[in-house]
């Protein structure tokens, strides 16, 4: 028991040390939490047999068309592979509306040479980096087509994207250097920011339960039956012990 107390004390001391040591502890920003915490996954294309694209460089760029099924699209997760040491200085990510490639909705520079060693990607035996792209929420993104583009000016780049051949209803075939590559998709994941509308949230739950009202009638009857049985099992014990 004494050892256990010692173990728990060590655990709390260690936790306190980690917290105190973390620069994030002081940089806790409520706005950041509000903006970047509540989101849900919409497109999940990181699946099937994944393979590497060619390294993205001056002569090789990729475009991916996709269609979110929700409003407030705000995040993409792009699975990159890269060699260690990483020779890619920078990649340029750009987001467009599919109907207007002239107007950039969002752009950012990615610095692969700051990623460190490749790490394991999910439960796959693949190594690289899931890069998060945070986009200012796009209000009416539902069923709109967007294109993201990854480019680089590096000549000796060693970074590329994981691709697959598994069809996804919301993802179209990629374009390489502007040419469509039929049946090949990026392993991208997309997310939308949650709209906390209490009325709408309650309506969804009620509608879903209403659709299965016969099931829920039996479900609540079952719960009532168990509660009754639990009570009765206690009563019968008291009866037996008193007699």
């Amino acid at each position: 028991m004494q050892f256990l107390r010692f173990f728990l004390l060590q655990f709390f001391l260690l936790s306190a040390f980690i917290l105190a040591d973390s620069p994030k502890a002081v940089a806790l920003d409520l706005n950041y939490i509000k903006e970047k915490t509540f989101f849900f996954k919409d497109i999940h294309s990181f699946r099937g047999k994944l393979f590497k694209s060619k390294a993205i460089n001056k002569d090789y760029f990729i475009r991916q068309t996709f269609k979110p099924s929700c409003n407030q699209f705000n995040r993409l997760v792009i699975p990159f592979y890269f060699e260690n040491p990483n020779k890619t200085n920078s990649l340029t990510f750009s987001l467009f509306e599919a109907s207007n490639l002239e107007k950039i909705l969002f752009t950012e520079t990615i610095h692969p040479n700051s990623w460190g060693k490749p790490s394991k990607l999910g439960s796959f035996k693949l190594y690289g980096k899931f890069h998060y792209v945070w986009i200012p929420p796009i209000q009416n993104s539902k069923d709109q087509s967007f294109i993201f583009e990854i480019k680089s000016n590096d000549i000796n780049s060693t970074t590329g994207i994981y691709l697959n051949r598994l069809k996804h209803q919301q993802v179209s075939s990629i374009q390489v250097n502007g040419q469509e590559l039929p049946g090949v998709y990026t392993g991208v994941l997309s997310y939308c920011k949650t709209n906390f509308d209490l009325k709408e949230m309650t309506e969804i739950v009620l509608e879903k339960t209403k659709r299965e009202k016969i099931f829920f009638t039996f479900y609540f009857l079952g719960i009532a039956f168990f509660l009754y049985a639990i009570k009765r099992a206690g009563k019968s014990l008291k009866k037996n012990s008193s007699s």
Binding site: H44, C70, T209, F215, A233
Partner: protein
């Protein structure tokens, strides 16, 4: 509280809790569990080939496939809404399936076999215990076990199935004249989730009384595997081995110092347990001692394995509960282990509040996981590492406690075996 209620009441409370959560919660993994057996229940025997060629997926071993196909066949025959739902799983995405009109009833049906596996574990444990107080402890610890409720009935993982086969093998190990049934149970365990194979050499040492008997037990273990896999190989070809290429258990044999040290500790623990079972306590092995043996081997096997996969801990839970029923000091130890497992396991959104996704996918999958929350304060990988270290240390401590127990006075003066 525990003593105010009867065993029947605890069992009913346990069933009620499970029944309440079962239709309302789930993880995407349960779709995977039923997706492929549905092909078999429709008469397509080349399930492994379909899984590999069409989905680049490896389904679980044969007994899991057969058992879930059997239940799928029954449910599909009885409920047309279930059939429509499970049929759609092969083509629709997780998000779309969550909004299906029959999600709640189908998810409850998905989890119905788990009630049966757990009842079988309960009956087996009941037979291993003689004293009334230990029986009551066992009923209580099973009924409100947070890991069983979370991993099986909230999450939807089927690991109670291999856990049952392993537990029943433990039961038959000490049943004279029925040891071969334990071998068959281990074979079934191996054909439901592979890991029970690590217990087979130990099982032989405990259950076989002679070399002749050991050979018989080996044959009982190998024969069903050979027959079932030969038939499946003829139908599916090499696809039945695809699982071995992809599965994620603790089998990394790289020559890094870290892995060598882990393997060394694992082999030493296994060796000590086998030595104790064979030379020290051979004729005095009780179910209490057997539970300790199984738990020590399991804890050692888990060093280096992912702590985040909560369902892996279901494999040993029947033995831990059995041990805690006999020896109350193990109850606290079990709950501390479960606390560590939960701190490690609630790491992604789908396994935390997102389990309520059938009610409102967008809302419940939006909430941050425990790992996200800690991620606001500390580096996420630091959190993972700290939890992994704590787990490995605590698993080591459990092995130490077991060694301390089994090498205590009780077995010191047992004469050596004649042979």
């Amino acid at each position: 509280m525990r003593h105010k209620l009867t065993i029947t009441q605890w069992i009913l409370i346990g069933v009620l809790i499970r029944f309440i959560v079962a239709p309302l919660t789930m993880h995407a993994d349960i779709f995977f569990v039923y997706k492929f057996p549905h092909f078999l229940s429709h008469g397509q025997w080349n399930v492994y080939e379909i899984a590999e060629k069409s989905y680049n997926a490896s389904y679980y071993p044969a007994i899991t496939l057969f058992i879930f196909s059997f239940f799928d066949f029954i449910f599909s025959s009885l409920f047309s809404t279930y059939e429509a739902f499970v049929h759609s799983l092969s083509t629709t995405s997780y998000n779309i399936a969550l909004n299906s009109p029959n999600i709640f009833s189908s998810v409850l049906l998905f989890k119905t076999p788990y009630f049966i596996f757990e009842a079988l574990i309960f009956i087996t444990g009941w037979k291993m215990i003689e004293s009334d107080s230990a029986k009551k402890n066992f009923a209580f610890l099973m009924a409100i076990n947070p890991l069983i409720i979370y991993s099986t009935y909230l999450f939807g993982q089927f690991d109670l199935l291999p856990a049952y086969f392993l537990f029943v093998a433990g039961f038959f190990a000490l049943q004279k004249g029925r040891e071969h049934l334990g071998s068959i149970a281990l074979a079934c365990g191996f054909m439901s989730k592979i890991f029970p194979i690590i217990f087979f050499p130990f099982y032989l040492l405990v259950a076989a009384q002679s070399i002749k008997n050991a050979i018989k037990l080996i044959l009982y273990f190998i024969a069903p595997i050979l027959v079932i896999y030969s038939v499946l190989y003829m139908i599916n070809g090499d696809s039945i081995f695809f699982l071995l290429k992809k599965f994620s258990y603790n089998l990394n044999t790289t020559q890094s110092i870290k892995h060598l040290i882990i393997r060394l500790f694992q082999a030493t623990t296994y060796g000590i347990i086998c030595w104790h079972a064979f030379f020290v306590a051979r004729k005095q092995i009780s179910y209490l001692l057997l539970a300790k043996y199984f738990l020590a081997i399991y804890m050692a096997a888990h060093w280096g394995l992912s702590v985040h996969s909560t369902h892996y801990f279901i494999w040993h839970i029947p033995f831990f509960i059995l041990l805690a029923s006999f020896a109350p000091e193990w109850e606290k130890r079990m709950y501390i282990l479960l606390a560590i497992v939960f701190l490690a396991g609630l790491r992604d959104r789908t396994s935390f509040i997102g389990l309520l996704a059938p009610l409102n996918p967008e809302l419940f999958l939006s909430f941050p996981s425990l790992k996200d929350i800690t991620g606001f304060l500390i580096n996420k990988s630091t959190y993972d590492q700290v939890i992994a270290y704590i787990f490995n240390f605590y698993a080591g401590l459990i092995v130490y406690w077991i060694f301390k127990d089994i090498f205590s006075k009780q077995y010191k003066n047992i004469p050596k075996l004649e042979n």
